[in-house]
């Protein structure tokens, strides 16, 4: 019904939309999602032909190219077949007419109805959208924001349009009004196609069948909305979802590094992307169909950084880990949760090559890891369980952080020192000469752990394996360390394999959780699913036994298996 091809809109030098392709079928709801300033509103206005900039490309509506229609012909379509609900309700409504009159206006103007019919229809619509009868003759300024929004919706629906463009229809409403208006939008006229421009993912999940994510004037990911929201495949989409407060995600909020910049060469997201490679800087990725999703990314979306396949390690007759297959995507945290002795550390050490696997393989960015040389260790680093043990008592703070660089023979002595000091700053340790010359036994537990993290980060790895990084720390320092790790993930796109026995801590930091028992992964999935709908009895018992602040006499009884 609506087909947009290569739509480009610019205001002077400023290119707002840069080659948009999309299709919308009858009765379908498509959400255009993006941060403010990505051109969502411009897209809606372009379809209405109300945009002031230069528009190129084609917008086919029922076979007609809207961009080549005469103004008159467009006038016929606007408000009768295509209607739009604008963002700022109180600016759009004319302050000197009552709301009922304003709704009647387009019907009469398009000569569709007589005045009487129009009045009835307007009253019916206002009633449908839940405006009390006594408010029909009110002036816009006498209405609340929610009521104004309802008036706008009634106005847009007045001529039974085939396409309704909704620009942030719910964002000015409070939660209760949002739910009510949202329902109304969903229920109204199932044959009417809706184009929903919003930054609000809740609106998307409630209203949209499909969603398209807009960034830097381009669609970077598109697909069925439930699918995209639960398994985002473009780094930007994932970052957007991580930054959105909601009741589904259990991980702490995370921002996106940097700021939107325009114009940029190559992929519009590359300055903020943590998996950008050379081609991303020079060439614009095309939106292509890739495993059930449209994605515009040179790397085919979020890459799988490390995976293991049937990894088994036996110590004599003891199978410490058995047939472990898991994968870690770039920039995500996978938590490995299990009790002591379940094989978590063995798995980590086997991945690191500190143990030789009995069977199975490790793959780094899809390539099988045969022998681990310096290149492997540049990409994958580990923070060991006990920082006091893992730091040599003979090396000072500076020497300890420089050690990986010394081993890898990176840079000159001065460059190494500079880099080491920079990383110490990143983990929020002091950088005074006094501190740099301290020895591990002069540091507190939290400082030692930070030092161990700094040492692992100094090579700028893509994956950090952290083995119970907070096991020796009290809660307040643990919180700081976890925050630090999350920040590093946001800034560097660090992937993490977070090993812990504490599922309560894991849920705050991880995108996915894998439960390990007796050397096997017994359950694995997105954190929220593992937390809210565990499938295995063992997972449920872990959750019951997890820390809580509520009085738990009954749960403890239940938990005692």
């Amino acid at each position: 019904m609506l087909e947009i091809k290569d739509l480009r809109v610019s205001y002077g030098q400023d290119v707002v939309l840069n080659g948009i392709d999309l299709e919308l079928g009858v009765g379908e709801t498509l959400a255009i999602v993006g941060e403010s300033g990505t051109g969502k509103t411009t897209l809606g206005l372009s379809i209405m032909r109300l945009v002031e900039g230069t528009v190129r490309g084609t917008i086919r509506f029922n076979g007609k190219d809207l961009l080549t229609l005469s103004d008159n012909a467009m006038q016929q379509i606007r408000w009768s077949q295509i209607a739009m609900v604008f963002q700022n309700a109180n600016n759009v409504l004319n302050p000197i007419y009552t709301v009922l009159n304003q709704i009647m206006e387009p019907m009469i103007e398009h000569g569709l109805k007589s005045k009487k019919e129009a009045q009835d229809r307007a009253a019916e619509l206002l009633g449908y959208f839940g405006l009390p009868q006594n408010r029909f003759t009110a002036y816009p300024h006498q209405l609340s924001g929610g009521e104004q929004q309802k008036v706008l919706l009634a106005m847009a629906m007045a001529n039974d349009p085939e396409l309704l463009i909704l620009d942030e229809p719910l964002s000015s409403l409070d939660a209760a009004a949002r739910a009510e208006v949202g329902n109304l939008i969903r229920e109204t006229d199932k044959h009417c196609a809706k184009l929903l421009a919003t930054h609000d993912l809740d609106t998307v999940s409630k209203l949209a069948d499909r969603m398209a994510v807009l960034y830097g004037g381009k669609i970077i990911e598109a697909g069925p909305s439930q699918d995209v929201l639960s398994r985002p495949r473009h780094p930007y989409t994932r970052a957007l979802i991580r930054a959105y407060p909601n009741m589904t995600t259990v991980k702490d909020l995370q921002g996106i590094k940097g700021q939107m910049a325009r114009p940029v060469s190559g992929c519009p997201f590359h300055p903020r992307c943590t998996q950008a490679i050379d081609i991303c800087r020079t060439e614009v990725p095309k939106l292509v169909w890739n495993q059930g999703r449209h994605i515009a990314c040179h790397r085919g979306g979020i890459i799988t950084l490390l995976s293991t396949k049937n990894l088994t390690k036996c110590f004599g007759s003891l199978k410490a880990i058995e047939s472990v297959s898991l994968h870690i995507e770039a920039g995500e945290t996978l938590s490995l949760v299990g009790q002591t002795g379940s094989g978590k550390t063995t798995l980590a050490k086997t991945i690191m090559g500190l143990h030789q696997p009995t069977e199975g393989d490790v793959y780094l960015e899809g390539a099988k890891v045969d022998s681990r040389g310096r290149d492997f260790y540049k990409r994958v680093q580990m923070v060991f369980q006990n920082p006091g043990e893992s730091l040599s008592h003979r090396l000072s703070v500076l020497e300890a952080v420089m050690e990986p660089l010394d081993i890898q023979e990176i840079g000159t002595e001065d460059e190494r020192k500079e880099r080491a000091i920079q990383v110490l700053g990143e983990v929020e340790l002091p950088r005074t000469n006094d501190f740099l010359s301290k020895y591990p036994h002069q540091l507190s537990g939290g400082e030692m752990q930070r030092l161990a993290i700094a040492r692992a980060l100094v090579l700028d790895p893509a994956l950090l394996i952290t083995d119970e990084p907070t096991a020796f720390l009290d809660a307040s320092i643990q919180a700081k360390i976890l925050k630090l790790l999350l920040n590093l993930q946001e800034q560097r796109g660090l992937s993490m394999l977070y090993i812990t026995h504490d599922i309560a801590a894991a849920r705050k930091v991880s995108d996915r959780i894998a439960i390990m028992l007796d050397g096997k992964i017994i359950e694995e999935g997105p954190s929220n699913e593992i937390i809210t709908a565990p499938k295995q009895g063992y997972t449920r018992s872990l959750l019951r036994a997890a820390s809580t602040l509520r009085s738990t006499k009954s749960t403890i009884d239940e938990g005692a298996l």
């Binding site: 090559g353 040389g373 540049k378 680093q381 060991f384 893992s390 008592h393 050690e403 040492r455």
Partner: protein, 281 residues
């Protein structure tokens, strides 16, 4: 966590005595040309003289000044001792640590060789070989070193095996470090105190061996040595020369060995801190 070797030695009085004896011996051998009043090899017709102002300890059967020979003998003793001590410690460390680090067939081969040497009595082999080649000082040092590193290697291997499992070694490996780097930066420094104790016992053994071989007359006869002096003195035991010829030499040798033993013993808690038990109780 740290074991302070200096403290261990200082806190035991035998340790202090041992250090003093060793310092005296070392000073004497270093200052030998000054302390000696004659060339120790210079023969003269004035043989078998009693002690006098000119010859503090008299002269021997070929008219050499015994005091001068005693002083130069300390040089030989300590040179062989420290030479063998250092060399066998190096060999022991290299083989012990490399066996621990590399493992596999290499480790098996090295450790079986070590076992083989440990069961064969070293003295017999040294006597047999020396009897044929009449070793110079350098050859003697090499020979003794080759035959005495095995015990140390065993201890180094055991220590390195346990140090290898330390967290900081695993961390260094996870930065991509090679065996050599790990051995040099993370294992050997922690072996330090044990190396020292091994070294001291190595020196003692070598001093003893050198004297013994010289006594048997199977070392280089042109080098003055306490063992050789005692042998010569013994052939004149029917005269009263033993008082200034045999006794001072024997005392010098014994003191050196006692000094080394004291120091070694005082440093031993470094290897086995449980030896300090008495203090605690």
């Amino acid at each position: 966590m740290h074991i302070d070797l200096k403290k261990e030695i200082k806190e035991s009085s035998p340790g202090k005595i041992g250090i003093i004896i060793l310092l005296v011996m070392i000073t004497v051998s270093l200052l030998a040309p000054v302390l000696a009043r004659y060339d120790p090899y210079q023969q003269s017709t004035a043989s078998l003289l009693s002690p006098s102002w000119n010859h503090w300890l008299g002269t021997n059967h070929v008219g050499q000044d015994i005091w001068s020979r005693l002083v130069f003998g300390a040089r030989t003793s300590l040179l062989v001792g420290f030479g063998v001590g250092i060399l066998s410690m190096l060999l022991g460390t290299v083989f012990g640590v490399s066996a621990a680090m590399l493992g596999g067939l290499y480790e098996k081969v090295v450790m079986r060789i070590v076992d083989a040497f440990i069961v064969i009595p070293m003295v017999i082999i040294v006597i047999l070989i020396s009897a044929y080649i009449r070793p110079s000082i350098l050859t003697l040092i090499l020979l003794l070193s080759l035959l005495s590193w095995q015990g140390g290697a065993r201890i180094m291997r055991a220590q390195a095996l346990s140090l290898k499992e330390r967290g900081h070694v695993a961390a260094a490996r996870s930065f991509g470090a090679h065996h050599f780097y790990i051995a040099w930066r993370h294992i050997v420094p922690d072996l330090g105190p044990i190396l020292l104790v091994e070294f001291i016992y190595g020196v003692r053994r070598a001093v003893f061996m050198e004297a013994g071989l010289a006594f048997l007359g199977i070392t280089d006869p042109t080098v003055v040595s306490w063992g050789m002096m005692m042998r010569d003195a013994l052939s004149f035991s029917y005269l009263n020369v033993w008082q200034w010829w045999l006794v001072p030499t024997g005392v010098a040798l014994s003191l050196t060995i006692i000094g080394l033993t004291f120091v070694g013993h005082a440093a031993e808690p470094v290897i086995e801190p449980r030896l300090r038990g008495a203090e605690v109780a």
